[in-house]
């Protein structure tokens, strides 16, 4: 049996288990919807008009397919070794489930964990609370300096530089009522950005003996791109922009309406 395929089927086994649990949970939730007496908002109906009908069909079908996936996974050798021992009654013997080797995190998986942490910190903590240009500049710089080379140290520095201001912003301004007001988390993020640029470039120089153009251009690009984007979205396409009360955007907005606009309006 191909080891890659066995690993895939082992994943399929757990996915099927999760999908079975998910389908049962949602079938139970669907059962709470009106099924027979479905008249609502002046619309008369019966079982065939119920809001529960289609979800019942979907989650029922999902349950059947998930069971099918599990059957295929087990048939193709995807039953995890621990469960195999439990089924064979050897779970707590000499070579019980506790003696199973723990899978090690590969370099690729470590990078994915780091990038996911940065994404979470950016979207959950920084974007709602911190000026968009500043937070995006930090994240762009972190992702370029941290992941342009395959060095765990560079990735860890990048992740720390994003997580620290994100944690501060979350703690200092947790409720959504505090998001729009200007506060010091913009400055903290800006300081982390400056620190990351210095530390990240020094780390690259120490590790590789030189700093390539991609990394040198990162900080400038990281500031210019979100700045142009925000301006285009807010004043060109007239779209909403995140954290309009932020450090840089308030200045841009002020000068757009007070300094620049009167110029081309001739007043």
């Amino acid at each position: 049996m191909d080891p890659d395929k066995t690993a895939l089927r082992r994943g399929d086994f757990w996915t099927a288990l999760f999908l079975i649990a998910l389908s049962i949970f949602f079938l139970a939730r669907t059962a709470t919807l009106p099924w027979v007496d479905v008249s609502s908002a002046g619309v008369e109906g019966d079982w065939y008009n119920s809001a529960a009908l289609v979800p019942f069909l979907i989650f029922g079908a999902l349950l059947v397919l998930a069971v099918g996936l599990m059957v295929v996974a087990v048939r193709d050798g995807g039953l995890p070794e621990g469960l195999r021992r439990v089924i064979a009654g050897r779970a707590f013997g000499g070579r019980g489930v506790w003696s199973l080797p723990r899978p090690a995190l590969t370099a690729g998986s470590q990078r994915i964990v780091m990038v996911s942490v940065i994404l979470l910190a950016y979207i959950v903590a920084l974007v709602p609370r911190v000026d968009f240009v500043v937070s995006s500049a930090l994240v762009i710089t972190a992702l370029i300096l941290g992941f342009h080379a395959s060095r765990p140290r560079a990735a860890a520095i990048a992740a720390a530089a994003v997580v620290l201001p994100a944690a501060y912003a979350m703690v200092a301004n947790f409720p959504s009522s505090a998001w729009q007001a200007p506060h010091d988390d913009d400055w903290v993020t800006l300081a982390c950005f400056a620190l990351l640029v210095v530390v990240g470039l020094v780390e690259a120089k120490l590790a590789e003996g030189r700093i390539d153009r991609a990394r040198l251009s990162a900080p400038v690009m990281a500031l210019v791109v979100p700045f142009l984007l925000v301006c285009a979205m807010a004043f060109g396409f007239r779209q909403n922009v995140p954290n309009s009360g932020g450090l840089i955007f308030t200045q841009v907005q002020y000068h757009y309406y007070v300094t620049l606009r009167p110029l081309w309006q001739g007043s």
Binding site: V54, A61, V115, F147, L229, Q239
Partner: protein
């Protein structure tokens, strides 16, 4: 005959409007160039390009204008994927994976420039074939679509999800179907369309209106791409010298048959719901090899092989727009993103669609093909130099584009949370070989399926007989049954017995 003439008149009027509008040229050239760059950079896809522009334009720019950019970037990206396939043996997009089979051997033989030139011509011709088929078939199908009622709509939505799940699965077909069902399940969240019953919102008022299209698209197509690209790190390859690019007329004429056949295959595959340009490229490549007088040259640097995939993937665009415009069922993943753009602009595809808009789309496609030809011949070396950009440099920017695009369309920060969660789940699902297109198509078609099925049952007072007494419905039911039963081992064995193998 009169109808055809009237349609031709409408088409030329739309083409004239576009051709005399300077702003249209700016939109067109910039978007096709952007699309080529997106396609050429491994890690960025046509779907991602259309999705990002959908978020960028939102509903603040008139749909007539934004469609130029969206279709331009779509066509450009499908063509642009051929650059790294030919020069680096790294497919820029899945659509151009088959192109690498013969494109790169040609580069190794010192014919990279010639391969790029013929690919440009093939993409131009493929897009034109797609546009012509769209023009020819959309009216017939729109007339037929007027006969389609709720039972057929429900079955069509189900058929679309099943076909997409079946053909897009690289591992087990069951995974494609599960993916489609999860998409359908996601579409059940929010107020139900008939009785306004609150379903699966768990008290979160944001979910009352269900999952919004743009964050789902961004989450499904952008976030996994960013995660995967940053996991891999920079992809580099030695860029070879590119010689003369513009091909001679004789070499184009020599491959006329291949181009015509591949164009037809591309349109046919594109018209299947949810099946994209990658399938079109591979199917056309396979057919080309089977019909070739020199099949042994396929994979060794055959121009026929190169043109088979490249013509088909661009012709697929026109094909994918046929079910989109006629039924509101996207023919490919980028077409799903295009449907998202139409939906946020309150344009409802289907029998009631504005004929002027359909003609404008065909005219845009024709103009796109010309832009591909122009940019491909004049600026090919600029696009080749873009291949030097490492993905670790542009993926972070894509993240910021995705974030602001998803935020701006309407739901604010909640849309970003949804985008992130969907992105992480889809990334994990992709690693487990679950196809993503059926999920997105499920989300998009879920509402149609739910509403049509229940309306059909309401009209028939709960009787299921209408599914077999209506001819179109019966045909669809049979197709769905064949699709499902065809995957069961018992029926496969039966099929193998009934169809004797060739010796």
């Amino acid at each position: 005959m009169e109808g055809a003439l009237a349609n031709a008149g409408l088409f030329f009027a739309a083409l004239g409007d576009l051709a005399t509008d300077p702003a249209a040229y700016a939109y067109l050239l910039l978007s096709v160039a952007l699309g080529i760059v997106f396609g050429a950079l491994p890690g960025l896809t046509a779907t991602l390009a259309v999705t990002i522009l959908t978020g960028f334009f939102g509903n603040k720019v008139p749909v007539e204008q934004s469609l130029i950019a969206l279709i331009g970037v779509y066509a450009g990206a499908i063509y642009g994927g051929s650059y790294p396939s030919i020069l680096l043996n790294i497919p820029g997009t899945a659509a151009s994976a088959a192109t690498a089979m013969d494109g790169h051997p040609l580069t190794r033989q010192g014919k990279g420039g010639q391969a790029l030139g013929l690919t440009t011509t093939a993409s131009f011709l493929g897009t034109v074939v797609g546009a012509i088929c769209l023009l020819a078939f959309v009216w017939v199908l729109l007339a037929l679509a007027r006969q389609i009622a709720s039972p057929e709509k429900a079955l069509l939505a189900l058929f679309g999800i099943l076909v997409s799940g079946t053909l897009m699965s690289k591992d087990l077909v069951i995974k494609g179907w599960i993916s489609g069902l999860v998409g359908l399940a996601m579409a059940m969240v929010g107020l139900d369309p008939i009785l306004s019953e609150d379903r699966f919102t768990f008290g979160w008022s944001y979910l009352l209106s269900g999952f919004q299209v743009v964050p789902v698209l961004m989450g499904a197509f952008a976030i996994p791409q960013i995660l995967d690209g940053l996991r891999v790190g920079p992809i580099t390859g030695h860029l070879p010298q590119v010689g003369r690019i513009v091909p001679g007329l004789a070499s184009i004429r020599r491959h006329g048959g291949t181009v015509a056949r591949s164009g037809a295959i591309g349109v046919g595959i594109g018209a299947l719901p949810g099946v994209g340009e990658d399938v079109a490229g591979w199917v056309s490549y396979g057919v080309g090899r089977n019909l070739s007088r020199e099949p042994e040259r396929f994979g060794q640097g055959s121009f026929d092989g190169l043109l088979s995939s490249e013509t088909a993937n661009n012709a697929c665009i026109g094909g994918a727009l046929i079910p989109l415009l006629v039924l509101g069922i996207p023919g490919s993943p980028p077409a799903a993103a295009l449907l998202g753009a139409l939906m946020i602009n309150n344009v409802t595809p289907g029998p009631t669609i504005d004929p002027g808009l359909v003609m404008r789309i065909v005219a845009i496609l024709v103009m796109c093909s010309l832009a591909i030809l122009l940019l491909g011949f004049v600026f090919a070396r600029v696009f080749v130099s873009a291949l030097k950009l490492p993905q670790t440099l542009f993926l972070p920017i894509i993240l910021v584009l995705t974030t602001i695009g998803s935020f701006s369309v309407g739901g604010g920060i909640n849309d970003l949370y949804i985008m992130l969660v969907i992105g992480l789940v889809v990334y994990a699902a992709g690693k487990a070989h679950f196809p993503i297109a059926p999920l997105v198509i499920g989300v998009i078609l879920g509402g149609l399926f739910d509403e049509s099925l229940r309306r059909a049952l309401l009209v028939s007072d709960g009787s299921l007989a209408m599914f077999v007494t209506r001819p179109v419905s019966l045909v669809l039911l049979v197709l769905i049954a064949m699709l499902v039963l065809g995957q069961l081992p018992a029926f496969r064995r039966l099929g193998a017995k009934l169809v004797p193998r060739r010796a």
